[in-house]
Symmetry: C2
């Protein structure tokens, strides 16, 4: 067993939370609905977003487009109340289980989940088919 | 409504599968267990990995460490049989629902899921607590 394998094994069973951020200081966060396990969205966190999420119990992310901390639901009222947070074997990803408050919609399009289209492959072509009902809110009413 | 908003809206309801790869030609793939919704792992796919996954019905990824296509379970026998694939609103992420074959373990540590540690915050300190039982297989027996 090589030294790197030994170090890796320790890291994988460690009780020390040591998130491995990428070159931009970010870690991927997968958000699912508590109870059902439905994936709601995938976003990114920096160290400050993790800290705020833990301290407030509401999901905070790093907005890569706006380059600022993003308190999810701060505008729409659709905050994501955190039930628990897990990290994966090599600590480069977080899984955040939440209860979606407000309209119960995590997606900015007004839908419950961002994953509202399924891939259908037919005759070598792939197309997308809607799998969710109409949006739970009208984005025009929420994002002024 | 600005032009970019109109374009964005079309993209969000389009039936055209147009994955948005990052600068390295990769897209994040969240893998969950069909039925339970348990997140099993998060990995990355390039265009070829997506094509192979759709064609074979078994999850293929791009290994960022080995810089090659990674047929998950090709060594261990723990292939991930794809039930369905969804994409998110802005098509920069895939959600892949699978049945884990072989030992039923998606994690290279032998555990069912890579997310086997939960964050516990106490007195301002965060530590990790194991949430899953013993591994389903011994990696030493599988990865020779």
């Amino acid at each position: 067993m090589s030294e790197s394998t030994i170090l890796s094994s320790k890291h994988e069973t460690s009780s020390v939370f040591a998130p491995r951020f990428d070159d931009n200081g970010l870690i991927t966060a997968v958000v699912t609905e508590a109870g059902t396990g439905l994936p709601l969205m995938v976003a990114h966190m920096n160290a400050q977003a993790i800290k705020l999420s833990i301290e407030t119990g509401e999901a905070h992310f790093w907005s890569r487009s706006r380059k600022e901390i993003w308190h999810k639901g701060g505008t729409s009222g659709n905050v994501l109340q955190i039930v628990d947070i897990h990290t994966d074997c090599d600590q480069d990803c977080l899984w955040i289980s939440v209860e979606a408050k407000g309209h119960g919609a995590a997606c900015h399009t007004g839908r419950k989940s961002c994953f509202y289209r399924k891939l259908i492959a037919q005759d070598g072509e792939v197309s997308l088919h809607m799998t969710q009902d109409e949006p739970l809110f009208d984005p025009k009413d929420v994002y002024k």
